[in-house]
Amino acid sequence: MKQLNADAKFAAVRCEQFWGYYKNGETVALPISAADGYAYSRPELLYSHSWYWTGAATGPCNGTQTPPPRGATSGQGTLLQLGADVNQLTGAVSTNVSYYKSSESDTNDGILLVVILAQRLRST
């Protein structure tokens, strides 16, 4: 019965979600469960991201949950290509936004909304 009780609790908190805004070069913070204070380790996290803004950030984001201001583009011209990634091993955020006018201008513009899908590993 004790193990059944423990299993029920584990099942209730095994999957949790967190979120925040990040820009290029920042690292997604390790979350802490609001349910029981559990501190997640990096292998327990999976990231998905959405483009909040393709222009530049006006300052650090670092997981803020206040929608950050949208800055201007850092390159001249119009959008040529873009891409983003959150390293699933390290949580490092990278954004690449290129513009083109008379020539290509590559920047690290961009603000991502990162959703963290946390799933606890079995402890035994």
Binding site: N5, A8, A11, A12, W19, A35, Q65, L79, V115
Partner: protein, 357 residues
């Protein structure tokens, strides 16, 4: 799966007509158990009812050449007042038990069955495979001062104890997949012994989970289950609620939205729970950077892709779903000779729903 109602009948002739006291619900199953004191070289009795349901024989058990127990089932029955008719060729003392079960698989409802005759107990076993099976055990015998018995008795409910000098007893219980060996008998049965049948019925499609209207995760301290502590019904129910809560705590939903629309509050298909805004987290993807051609409001039908609202090439874009209000905003800018800012865009929004404690 559960027993809804039952009826019994006895006759010295060749036809029995037990009727349920209430209407049978559509989709329920009717189990018919017949004991006949007649030459069993005859064909098994014919079973039918006034609703046109079709009965299939499950099993038989013969005490001797003149006494036979038969089991039949009609799954997925029609609704209405139901009278079952059992007819056999030879006249003799006979009786029938009819049982209405809800939650039985509508097709091929019998998972396993076994039968036997012995005295005073018959030990039968079945290997069940369904995750929502119910076992039905029936036993019949003759004698004086009769009473039924089943061993091991844990989990069984005696539903029927019918008759005096000849008694039929019926038990049932829910089971998980596994092997079940049951010793079924009747005390004080005469030397002829008993006939018994053990039937495992598949459960139907599971219904929605039942969770209290305001589900909460009940904290059960680990020492609740320390040795020496009594496991009360209250604690057991709280543990059951915790397990159900855990099963449905995290759910996901999705839909397409455009600028200015608000993500709808989802309702759980599992138990009908209405999520509050505070329990939701949104992620989104650009389905289209051009304009929407009309309202979307969470449609799950791929929306048509409209043209751009500004001249020139794309300059920058972005989107957000307010994590507080669910309001969707999209920004798409174009540049030709000057910048044009629009609210073009269609988002695919994933709603991550996590129930609060």
């Amino acid at each position: 799966m559960s027993l809804v109602q039952s009826a019994t009948a006895f006759v010295a002739g060749t036809t029995l007509s037990p009727a349920f006291p209430g209407n049978v619900a559509a989709g329920d199953a009717i189990v018919v158990l017949v004991f006949q004191s007649a030459a069993i070289s005859e064909s098994p009795p014919a079973v039918s009812d006034n609703q046109g349901n079709t009965y299939a024989q499950i099993d038989t058990a013969n005490i001797n050449a003149n006494e036979q127990l038969c089991a039949f089932i009609a799954p997925n029955c029609a609704a209405g007042s139901t009278t079952v008719t059992v007819t056999w060729a030879n006249s003799g003392g006979s009786f029938a038990v009819i049982l209405e079960y809800s939650g039985v698989a509508a097709a091929s409802p019998v998972d396993a069955h076994s039968s036997g005759a012995a005295g005073p107990n018959a030990t039968l076993d079945v290997q069940t495979t369904g995750s929502t099976d119910t076992l039905i055990a029936v036993c019949v015998g003759s004698g004086a001062n009769l009473s039924g018995s089943i061993s091991p008795s844990a989990g069984w409910t005696q539903e029927i104890a019918f008759g005096t000098t000849t008694m039929v007893c019926v038990w049932d219980r829910a089971v998980y997949p596994g092997y079940f060996g049951e010793t079924i008998g009747i005390h004080n049965v005469n030397s002829a012994g008993v006939a018994a049948i053990l039937i495992a019925l598949f459960g139907g499609t599971p219904g929605p989970l039942t969770i209290s209207p305001a589900p909460v995760f009940v904290e059960l301290p680990d020492d609740t289950f320390d040795a020496g502590n009594q496991i009360t019904d209250v604690v057991a129910k709280e543990l059951n609620e915790d397990i159900k809560f855990a099963a449905v705590r995290y759910e996901t939903f999705w839909g397409c939205y455009r600028n200015g629309e608000t993500v709808v509050l989802p309702v759980s298909p599992a138990d009908g729970y209405f999520y509050s805004r505070a329990e939701l987290l949104y992620s989104h993807s650009f389905y289209w950077t051009g304009a929407a051609t009309g309202a979307l409001n969470g449609t799950q039908t791929r929306p048509p892709r409209g043209a751009t609202s500004g001249a020139g090439n794309m300059l920058q874009f972005g989107a957000d779903v307010s994590q507080l209000s669910g309001v969707v905003s999209t920004y798409v800018s174009y540049y030709a000779s000057s910048e044009t800012d629009t609210n073009d865009g269609i988002l695919l929004v994933i709603t991550h729903a996590l129930r609060m404690r």
